[in-house]
Subunit: 206 residues, 2 copies
């Protein structure tokens, strides 16, 4: 049974996703909950705190999901695959929240923004570390880790912008496509270079 505080949060998620943070008023949220707008302020100090609360629990769960997925994988390729699958499926399964967390950072106060950005940086660092390990082990081509980690994450994050739960492709199918594209992208040059250097040795690895 959901508390009113949870109801408010969930109605806010729905409205922020559909209309945007600025276009959603406290009255809109109250109407969605079936209460008066003044009652919102009993549960949250203000509109911005409500946004912050949404973003914080989203980032928390995003990080947990990544840790859970990584726990099941051991070698570097498996770990990268697990990380991408976690990232993609979280962003599609919790589309509304991830959409908000990505697109409404402008709505946060400076203090709250720095908390969320710090969490996001922690999250990105895990991906950068995965790329670095892959490069160290010679599985991926040497590359600019920061730029590529942004590229990989953004690419999958964008799913939250166009995904339709009742659309042509399921979450798993989309995760497959992204997983393949990113892994290919990271490994391709390595593969072709290895082939050029030593086709025989390359063949044993394929």
């Amino acid at each position: 049974m959901a508390s009113m505080k949870d109801t408010i949060k969930s109605v806010a998620v729905d409205l922020f996703f559909r209309k945007g943070y600025y276009a959603t008023s406290i009255s809109d949220i109250a109407r969605g909950c079936g209460i008066q707008k003044a009652s919102i302020y009993y549960h949250f100090p203000g509109k911005e705190e409500l946004l912050f609360s949404i973003m914080q629990s989203t980032m928390q769960d995003l990080l947990s999901s990544l840790e859970n997925h990584l726990a099941d994988a051991s070698d570097i390729e498996g770990r990268m695959r697990a990380a991408i699958r976690s990232h993609v499926s979280f962003h599609l399964n919790r589309q509304k929240e991830t959409f908000i967390a990505t697109s409404e950072l402008r709505g946060l106060t400076e203090d709250h923004l720095s908390v969320i950005v710090a969490r996001r940086d922690d999250y990105e660092r895990i991906f950068q570390e995965l790329i670095r390990q892959g490069v160290d082990q010679g599985v991926y081509e040497n590359c600019d880790m920061k730029i590529l980690s942004y590229a990989i994450l953004t690419l999958c994050t964008a799913g939250a912008f166009w995904f339709r739960p009742d659309g042509r492709l399921s979450v798993d199918e989309i995760a497959d496509i992204y997983e393949k594209f990113v892994l290919n992208g990271l490994m391709a040059a390595q593969a072709s270079r290895a082939f050029q250097q030593s086709p025989a040795e390359f063949a044993t690895r394929t």
Copy 2:
């Protein structure tokens, strides 16, 4: 010599980029231009029309840039490279406008939104056509064209979100990284598959 209309537009671009569309008031823009806020309304019917004007000229120039870059390339790989370079360099060189055009769609009325989205769809279709031609000619692996075109475009568009003109990497260096990652991503599976099927023939193509 810039007209006041151009000045207003350029000040608005700067403020929308730095503070966001909703957080920027007509008064802010007027102050940036050194005029009174009522004077803005002589040049633009309202704040939303100003945003629309910025987005429309940005999309126009984005499309022109792509056409110019494509005119110089002939084969499919060269055309894809040219398209990616055009996309990346435009988004970094005109960072403020492309950032706004990407992140402030929520600020448009329904009518204006549909105009911009239609232009964006035209633009995306050119990339989808490039991918399709590459697949037809066997240069790229068969793939989901819509999803991959979103992936490629978003990945590069995201540059406008983190790029620093005075940062570590130049526009050209970033374009190089993206060009390589995307091309590798599109061709990788094809390359390794070709090698598995016929290593000798593959070698002649490398």
